[in-house]
């Protein structure tokens, strides 16, 4: 249940803003981040009341992964690990998709 660790980290970064009513928190989750977005929201829902965020919504901005192929040198979208480049090669470098980033706090 590493998603709960992520929510605990999120709450630490939100802490300085708890003097204002927060309407929603937006985080960016890359599709290769090893995080289950639904479970992340579930974990947030468990702890939101005790964290003083009962009326706050957690919004997840999904980001697909992009990779650069070492064979054909083209960039392509990756939906899961172990997926080949359209040229058939498995030799590629991830350009994005592993991010777990707090991007927005919207106040009520």
């Amino acid at each position: 249940m590493h998603e709960l660790s992520i929510i605990n980290a999120l709450l630490k970064y939100i802490q300085p803003y708890l003097n204002r009513k927060i309407k929603c928190i937006k985080i960016e989750v890359g599709s290769m981040s090893c995080i289950d977005p639904e479970r992340l929201i579930g974990c947030f829902d468990w702890v939101k009341a005790t964290a003083g965020l009962s009326d706050t919504q957690l919004i997840i901005d999904h980001h697909p992964a992009k990779a650069s192929c070492q064979q054909c040198h083209q960039d392509f979208s990756l939906t899961q690990l172990g997926q080949p480049c359209p040229c058939g090669s498995y030799d590629y470098t991830l350009l994005s998709g592993q991010q777990l980033t707090l991007t927005e706090i919207e106040f009520a």
């Binding site: 249940m1 590493h2 660790s5 992520i6 980290a9 999120l10 630490k12 970064y13 803003y17 985080i27 960016e28 890359g30 290769m32 981040s33 090893c34 995080i35 980001h63 992009k66 990779a67 650069s68 899961q80 690990l81 172990g82 080949p84 498995y90 030799d91 590629y92 470098t93 991830l94 350009l95 994005s96 998709g97 592993q98 991010q99 777990l100 980033t101 707090l102 991007t103 927005e104 706090i105 919207e106 106040f107």
Partner: protein
């Protein structure tokens, strides 16, 4: 949305009665929404970097050993202590489990210098636990440190501990499909150990299928078939450890392997 200026409808609207126009009470945009770029794992990553720096300064090699429960991680450490201790730097071990001192007792009996970390309900080790664990362990400079992570193929993959090398371990009794089912862990390791090779004839396990899956997930990874019971593969294991202890520290993103995210390119 207001058709006059396009502002959001949830902003306050002040309507002047007996007038054909309305005005808005606009709050300053920056006070309504705060834009940030805060990596949620930044704290763990900073601590991991501190661990890595401290270990490097003291000439230590640190291996994060992850894998399925029952893959034989502790048995590998026991056999390594018993068979290879003379060929390697002093070995020190951090054992991670939710409960019990069982693994620490086993490696201690095999001659290991060990500290047990019990995570309670936690499903993985993190950089802070390793920092505290290393303080307690107080390994001598130049040591080879093994961190036996909590037996789990999911959560440990996400947490950098400050290690110099990552190993994923499974056993032939786990079945063919573990790499495909748990791609994050298997794609982030330099070495994948398949243990219990002595049982290969008794279970449905196809080595080619597993090697093919690993080649697709992590083309740069080495695959080592071994048996902690019969010591099959231990010559290669000794060689791998010798190379690992002789090669310097890699950068913090090394464990992401071939499919690592380029640190120089911005997120889309």
């Amino acid at each position: 949305m207001c058709t006059h200026c396009g502002c959001s409808s949830d902003k306050a609207v002040l309507t002047e009665f007996a007038s054909d126009h309305h005005s808005h009470h606009h709050l300053p945009a920056e006070s309504q929404t705060l834009h940030l770029q805060q990596a949620l794992l930044a704290e763990n990553e900073n601590l991991a970097e501190q661990n890595r720096h401290g270990l490097h300064q003291q000439g230590m090699t640190c291996i994060n050993l992850m894998g399925t429960p029952g893959a034989g991680k502790t048995a590998l450490l026991e056999a390594t202590l018993q068979m290879l201790a003379n060929d390697l730097p002093p070995i020190a071990i951090l054992e991670g489990d939710q409960q019990t001192l069982n693994d620490a007792n086993r490696v201690k009996a095999a001659g290991g210098h060990v500290v047990q970390i019990n995570t309670g309900t936690g499903c993985h080790l993190d950089a802070e636990l390793i920092k505290t664990g290393l303080e307690k362990l107080a390994p001598e400079p130049g040591s080879l440190i093994f961190i036996e992570n909590v037996g789990n193929l999911v959560c440990p993959a996400l947490f950098d501990l400050g290690e110099s090398h990552r190993i994923a371990m499974m056993a032939v009794t786990d079945g063919n499909d573990k790499p495909n089912k748990y791609p994050h862990l298997f794609s982030s390791c330099e070495l994948i150990i398949i243990n219990k090779a002595d049982l290969m004839g008794y279970v449905d396990f196809d080595l080619n299928t597993v090697q093919q899956a690993i080649a697709q997930l992590n083309p740069q990874a080495e695959v080592l078939l071994l048996s902690t019971k019969t010591q099959l593969g231990f010559d290669q294991w000794r060689e791998w450890l010798t190379t690992a202890t002789n090669t310097g520290y890699l950068n913090s993103n090394h464990f992401l392997g071939t499919h690592q995210e380029s640190p120089t390119l911005p997120h889309d």
